[in-house]
């Protein structure tokens, strides 16, 4: 059993101190009458989770921002986190929000980071702009991935959300709402820059300054919500080793076809695009979600992929059992160095194979709302992939056969 919770807690308190500092003078200004809406609010969310798999041949992660994964020993690092929010209503039309989170992340520790810090200005009840740091909404629900209390499962579908290595964007977004028919049509556009790192082995892919942009169209009516989203990111830094070493080697040959291959697996100034459609049906005790996505990468270093998931839950008293099915599949890109037999050919083949996925997952579990503001969840994920489906795992042994079961328990809370 490996428990890192004491560390998580320590960092959580540091995050709290940061949030308090940022808003201390705002809090002092808050001496309003009880009848007015509260001007200053401090709140938070968290998850205490343990999970294990049934194999030591690979490491299972929640998403690609986690440096290391879990194996057959129970670990709390996959899902445990704590987040704190300070909210200040400066006026009827201006709101300020700061949120800090401590979770197991890219650098293999729980160092807290500011995941949200924005000012929101409401031009009118139907049009608002936000500026600052905001969660990325590449897919429906992607900006609330850390708030376990807000959803049924222990964690968002890894097949679907696991490839999203970016959690926030520094920039602007504009949201508008128009009543249409019996429902509401909502649109959002956003643009900004990334400020994150993604772990690659013991190295990091630097995403600082990568431009991001996107938007969605959303329609809600009756029990239905539909959304189509498009988002993109352009890389401004190259991948670290081993890809950088391979590219150096290819350039050194001076052979035009090898140089072309090195160019093709570069990522700087190349764009990755994310398309998705999602639907939610929510009727009393019944909740159903379905989403589809497609990723297209200009760089040959990443394979284009498609993913989807279906999740259904039905509340019975305090307990909501749920079932889910998800899949992700990528398509190999053919690329040759044009060199005679050479170790570089093998390195290139290995590099291209490293980013392949072809798997599906069956999920079974239950959420128990046993106490106010707290939920206990238990879940089993049965991942069935080809032995070549390894992109979602930071490392694996040659014995890995693509099959994996994950057992998880989580206590989610808000305060």
């Amino acid at each position: 059993m490996t428990f890192h919770w004491h560390r998580a807690q320590r960092c959580g308190f540091r995050a709290l101190a940061v949030a308090c500092l940022l808003f201390s003078h705002a809090a002092m200004a808050d001496s309003d009458a009880a009848m007015a809406p509260k001007r200053f609010e401090l709140s938070g969310f968290g998850t205490l989770g343990v999970a294990r798999t049934d194999t030591n041949d690979t490491q299972f992660i929640r998403d690609q921002t986690q440096q290391g994964g879990i194996d057959k020993s129970f670990s709390s690092k996959l899902d445990s986190l704590i987040g704190l929010q300070a909210y200040f209503r400066a006026s009827d039309s201006l709101e300020l929000v700061t949120q800090a989170i401590s979770r197991y992340g890219p650098q293999g520790d729980y160092r807290p980071e500011i995941s949200w810090a924005f000012a929101k200005y409401n031009f009118n009840p139907n049009l608002s702009v936000r500026a600052g740091r905001m969660g990325t909404e590449f897919y429906l629900l992607a900006d609330s991935r850390h708030v376990g209390y807000s959803y049924l499962t222990v964690r968002p579908s890894v097949d679907f959300f696991g490839l999203l290595a970016f959690h926030y964007v520094d920039g602007l977004d504009l949201t508008g709402i128009v009543p249409l028919g019996e429902g509401l049509l909502k649109g959002k556009v956003f643009a900004g820059y990334s400020h994150e790192l993604a772990p690659i082995g013991s190295e990091f892919l630097n995403m600082h300054g990568n431009p991001m942009a996107g938007g969605y169209v959303d329609y809600q009516q009756g029990h239905w919500q539909w959304r189509a989203t498009m988002a993109q990111m352009t890389f401004k830094h190259e991948l670290p080793a081993p890809v950088s070493t391979l590219r150096d080697g290819l350039y050194l040959t001076g052979v035009p076809s090898a140089v072309a291959a090195a160019d093709a697996i570069g990522i700087k100034d190349k764009t990755s695009r994310f398309y998705s459609v999602g639907g939610v049906y929510d009727r009393g005790p019944l909740q159903v979600q379905a989403m589809l996505s497609e990723l297209r990468h200009e760089s040959a270093t990443y394979q284009n992929s498609k993913a989807g998931y279906l999740l259904a839950g039905y509340r019975m008293g305090q307990v909501t059992p749920f079932v889910g099915y998800s899949w992700t599949k990528s398509k190999e890109k053919t690329l040759s160095t044009g060199l005679p037999p050479n170790p570089l050919n093998d390195y290139l083949a290995a590099s291209l194979a490293r980013v392949h996925t072809d798997q599906h997952t069956y999920t079974l579990g239950a959420r128990w709302d046993f106490h106010r503001d707290m939920a206990l969840k238990a879940q089993v994920d049965m991942i069935r992939g080809t032995p070549q489906s390894i992109f979602l795992y930071p490392s694996n042994t040659p014995n890995f056969d693509g099959k994996l079961n994950v057992f998880s328990l989580a206590l989610d809370f808000v305060f």
């Binding site: 009880a34 009848m35 809406p37 509260k38 709140s43 969310f45 987040g83 929010q85 909210y87 009827d92 929000v97 949120q99 949200w116 924005f118 929101k120 009118n124 009840p125 139907n126 936000r130 905001m134 969660g135 629900l141 900006d143 609330s144 850390h146 708030v147 209390y149 807000s150 959803y151 709402i177 009543p179 019996e182 429902g183 509401l184 809600q220 009516q221 009756g222 009727r283 009393g284 005790p285 509340r315 305090q318 709302d369 106010r372 503001d373 939920a375 808000v414």
Partner: protein, 144 residues
């Protein structure tokens, strides 16, 4: 026999009146200018999706205290959701920088004061607690 029937009938009437007292209505201030809201409007307004009333005024939905039975009843009747589900719903919006939940009136008198002072304020209460200071703008009994 007739002597027995009379008290029985009055008992029945009292019981009926008690059942009727659990009937909730959505209300605004008497001078809000709101005529009537559709069920879909009430859902959108109380779930933070729409922040403007048909009158064009910014909407200020008001909840009763967390522990009040009317609050739990209201969301059961409106969207068939338990308090924990409503809390989970708002947790997603609050912690992703979206809408904030309705402000809270600690008592019915607080609610009525809010409704009277703000033409955008809307709340809910037992039908038999309604007086001339408020106006019924949605009725679960006639729009089940």
């Amino acid at each position: 026999m007739r002597a027995l029937l009379k008290p029985l009938l009055s008992l029945l009437l009292v019981l009926l009146a008690q059942t009727a007292s659990a009937e909730l209505v959505v209300v605004s201030g008497a001078k809000s200018g709101i005529d009537h809201l559709s069920r879909q409007d009430v859902v959108f307004l109380f779930m933070g999706r729409l922040r403007q009333l048909p009158t064009g005024v910014p909407a200020v939905p008001v909840d009763l205290a967390v522990d009040s039975p009317e609050r739990a009843d209201f969301y059961r009747q409106l969207v068939s959701k338990e308090p924990a589900e409503i809390k989970a719903y708002w947790s997603r919006l609050v912690f992703s920088g979206g809408s904030r939940p309705p402000q809270i009136a600690e008592s019915r008198e607080d609610l009525i004061r809010l409704l009277s002072s703000n033409p955008g304020a809307i709340g809910y209460m037992d039908r038999n607690k309604v007086d001339q200071r408020v106006r019924i703008i949605f009725d679960f009994a006639t729009h089940p």
